[in-house]
Symmetry: C2
Subunit: 190 residues, 2 copies
């Protein structure tokens, strides 16, 4: 997505430790007009995939999922990060190994909102090691639902999440794939 | 908001400990068509207030803020719950006493995204004791920004958040105010 790459070059900031800061428009302050462009692009990419529900994970994925859902005219479900060790039977749950938080956490989705008839589009803002995405896939598998595809706004191509997911046969579309980044600049895959 | 009250009666569930579960349409699964009705109503209520930015807090507030922001044509900023004790100088921060989590947490907002020229509308899904809202007001005060008003989808009128905020002179609109609730039913204020 050309406009996204241009925006990342203009407003993004690559810092140490493989962090790409895009918090001026994507995941702290949110440019709603630009979110709509992102939503339209996800719709263009997945409109024929039979999506009847969008699944994401708190927090940054929620806004992207909600804006995009307007184009598909489907509901959103967001997985929550469990606050306690006691997870009730009413939830699907999966453990996520987090590199950001340096410790694992559990995601939960109520069994009431994922069914075997569902055809799910997963959306998220970032794809790095793909651990959160694998947790969402696990939850979909537990529900017996179908996966329509997965869309992420920015993939860090130098980390292995994209490779892992594509290797599993996931219909993954990333709107921008960062090949490399440093304080000197950000390079995208074609 | 009549449609909201009807929806709460139809799909909400009052459980013990003053919990009102509306996770089938508001804060776990999200009915995007209904979110748009909520967004339109917030616009109707605050359209003359000079809003140039919407502030909310992760996680459930983000979707409501994003959908509503489309009507105002303004950006959203969402406060984050701090993951560590070390908060950098670049953030405004405020401590929130949480009754839900049973322990306090810090919210952070980058100083880059709140300015003294801003006129802020705060949005959130629930208002109970109002502690999160007070944290957001504190952050706005630190930034020297103006408060245009505060909108919440559901206020628990039997808890003291609404009274506290109105007592401070906050231009608060709640789309539904629950007067009392039990397994027998949910009663709204007029």
């Amino acid at each position: 997505m050309k406009a996204l790459k241009e925006r990342i070059i203009k407003d993004g900031c690559a810092t140490g430790n493989n962090i790409l800061r895009v918090d001026s428009f994507l995941n702290h302050q949110i440019d709603i007009v630009f979110y709509n462009e992102i939503g339209k692009e996800f719709y263009r990419l997945f409109q024929t995939a039979g999506v009847n529900k969008i699944l994401t994970i708190e927090a940054s994925g929620i806004g992207i999922a909600c804006i995009t859902a307007q184009y598909f005219n489907v509901p959103v479900v967001f997985a929550k990060k469990a606050k306690s060790e006691n997870i009730a039977d009413e939830f699907y749950t999966s453990r996520v190994e987090s590199f950001t938080y340096k410790r694992p956490y559990d995601i939960i989705v109520s069994k009431k909102y994922l069914h075997k008839e569902d055809k799910i589009l997963i959306l998220d803002d970032f794809l790095a090691n793909g651990q959160a995405m694998l947790g969402l896939l696990d939850v979909i598998r537990q529900a017996g639902a179908q996966l329509a595809g997965a869309g992420v706004v920015i993939e860090k191509g130098f980390q292995n999440g994209g490779k892992t997911l594509r290797g599993m046969g996931v219909n993954l579309h990333s709107l921008a794939i960062v090949k490399s980044m440093s304080e000197k600049g950000i390079v995208f895959e074609d």
